[in-house]
Symmetry: C2
Subunit: 390 residues, 2 copies
């Protein structure tokens, strides 16, 4: 798993063939004639397409994964050259946005031309997916259509949650890059930087060291603690006595790391130090239980018990982790109600949290690859003691 | 419009009240009892919420804009503190992801409690919108529901395409920042940088000068020209004789600029220089016709005529521009089939293109604010002559 520094971009065609083969096995098992794909991370999973043109909501992009043969792209003309560099053979284009307002007929015609063995197509209708096309167009597709359209989300997640070796290496690489930046963070931030200043310095360092993008980077600070962990940085100045929370979703070649770090500025209360250490142990408990065959709900319970053993009453059933990959968060959830089984080659974030006084929370987070021999840290483990920046 | 350098983040509550008032007027006109909002840019438009937590697909977020009164948030618990800082008064939360797998009942109950004057709710079903929730959940919402759910996309675009003064200032600010970076680009890139190196240096400079994010940054190079304009940068080295295309979608406080710049490395053919200049004139034609009352299709025709007057045969009906705002591209389209009327306070990209030999294209792009007195450039106009980097 080392040599992350010189890791290449992209994947071999063989890797896409392997992903396709697994998808087609699942299509058979689920009695589906094809998968209809519209979501950027799913298109990238099956083709390797590297673009951020998804920022433009104007045009839909379609990929069809048939029961046999390579995936078929039905895409706006503007994407033809880019798709022609992938392992795909069949690329159909139309001039989108279309002068007669019709961005669905080309897809519908293509799908109608597929053989129907089972009479059903899977689409991104369910769990943690939002189909990327107007609902009205989706209705036109379904209207008087040769196939039933049923949920394909669980099939897609069954594929994406179990990573290949090459995917794991990319997540490891970006986790290492961000880890190096956290190592030197105390040398480049200072009291009276605003949260936004800190975020910009971090982004700059993360880019210089080799990541491509930093789509997610909350920097949250507050006297003695923070009350939320998802907002973008504000103009607030970092000052002595602050608790500083930084979460990072950075990418290398499309793959995310997702882990946080916590700091005390100048000083920290004994309560905060102690809570931080308890959470460190809770995280340790989560990591060590990430073994093939474990159930997500049992891992949640073990983390919870560890927190309660230290005397905290846990409110609610908030999750303590999730998958990581082409998206910042992916299934499964490490939660009391998730019935997933941890599998070899999953990559997960263990992310326990404690509300140590009303409205004040601490969250720890590490990224782990599940090897057949057990958990392997992709992040450099946070120190047990809350780091102090003076 | 100056003083962009010291522009503040955020908007006043009064601004959100104005947006809300316009929305409610349109709700009455369209005989709708409420708008259901799920898309990040739409949520931000009505609340100012600044988060990138949307990168996590796990949880849906709902905002309801009723016929009277402030918008109502129905959101996962994890967002409560963040939403409590907005001008919203009613914030309902549920523990999402939910232990019984139900992320739709809280929204449905809230909507059912609204008075029904017209019996219909508008949602993000149509033009350039993809609803951000599982289609299966949307089906559950519609099932045995008190209201009809109809398309609200055109209503939302009617609001968002016409900017307030404060929105325009933010677009101007980020356009100026990126413009400054292009001014100094020749001093920090060099032959034998890869496209990725160029992109990283650009991102670093754009961040340092005050933008928040750079979600879109294709850097495309090729001997004598490029064949596509949407792919992310690759390992390809920039070398003498290359044509270099850079597009930029950077943000300040959530608002995008979207403009490109073209360069010749070391040398350029007379054909390329001449095509570049023709496109400059075509862009000029587009800009000067961006006046209140103009029709988008007429602007398209005028740009097209300008290109054809210079002796090019234009293939197809690709668009020559679009709106810009909280998303990289927004309606309207400057295209032969778009029937929009340019309105005061729209912000648009004028973006003509020429395929000057088979598979080789040039694209120019500028951002313009439509004042009552005519077009005002937000970008620093590209030079007429193709800039040479030696």
């Amino acid at each position: 798993m080392r040599n992350a520094k010189t890791l290449e971009y992209g994947f071999s065609n063989e890797e896409f063939e392997i992903r396709l083969k697994r998808a087609q096995e699942l299509l058979y098992e689920n009695k589906l004639d094809a998968l209809l794909i519209t979501i950027p991370s799913n298109i990238r999973y099956f083709t390797g397409i590297d673009t951020n043109f998804w920022e433009s909501p104007t045009r839909p992009w379609f990929l069809v994964v048939p029961l046999s043969g390579r995936p078929i792209a039905i895409i706006p003309e503007i994407g033809e050259k880019l798709f022609s560099k992938t392992f795909l053979k069949d690329i159909y284009t139309w001039p989108s946005p279309n002068f007669n307002g019709d961005d669905i007929s080309p897809l519908k015609s293509l799908l109608e031309s597929l053989p129907s063995r089972f009479g059903a197509i899977g689409a991104e209708l369910g769990k943690e997916m939002s189909i990327r096309m107007p609902v009205l167009d989706f209705g036109l597709l379904q209207n008087n259509f040769k196939f039933d359209i049923v949920d394909g989300a669980s099939l897609i997640w069954a594929l994406r949650t179990v990573k290949t070796f090459n995917e794991i290496k990319k997540i490891e690489k970006v986790a290492q890059i961000v880890g190096e930046v956290f190592d030197v963070l105390p040398t480049f931030i200072s009291v009276d930087d605003s949260e936004r200043d800190v975020a910009k310095k971090l982004k700059k360092e993360i880019l210089i060291r080799g990541a491509d993008n930093i789509p997610y980077l909350p920097v949250v600070s507050g006297k003695g603690g923070v009350s939320q962990i998802i907002g973008n940085p504000t103009h607030k100045l970092i000052s002595s006595g602050d608790f500083l929370f930084i979460d990072t979703g950075a990418t290398f070649d499309g793959y995310f790391c997702d882990f946080d770090r916590n700091f005390a500025i100048g000083q920290a209360s004994d309560e905060l130090k102690r809570t931080n250490e308890i959470l460190w142990h809770a995280t340790e408990e989560g990591i060590k239980n990430l073994v093939p065959g474990a159930m997500t709900k049992d891992i949640w319970k073990k983390i919870n018990k560890k927190i309660e053993d230290f005397g905290f009453m846990v409110k609610g059933e908030g999750r303590y982790g999730h998958g990581v990959g082409l998206q910042l968060t992916e299934p499964p959830s490490i939660s009391s109600f998730d019935n997933s089984i941890i599998q070899e080659n999953m990559v997960l974030a263990i992310e326990p949290s404690i509300e140590y006084k009303p409205g004040k929370i601490i969250v720890h987070e590490e990224n782990i690859f599940v090897s057949k021999d057990g958990p392997v840290l992709l992040t450099k483990r946070a120190p047990k003691e809350l780091p102090l920046i003076s």
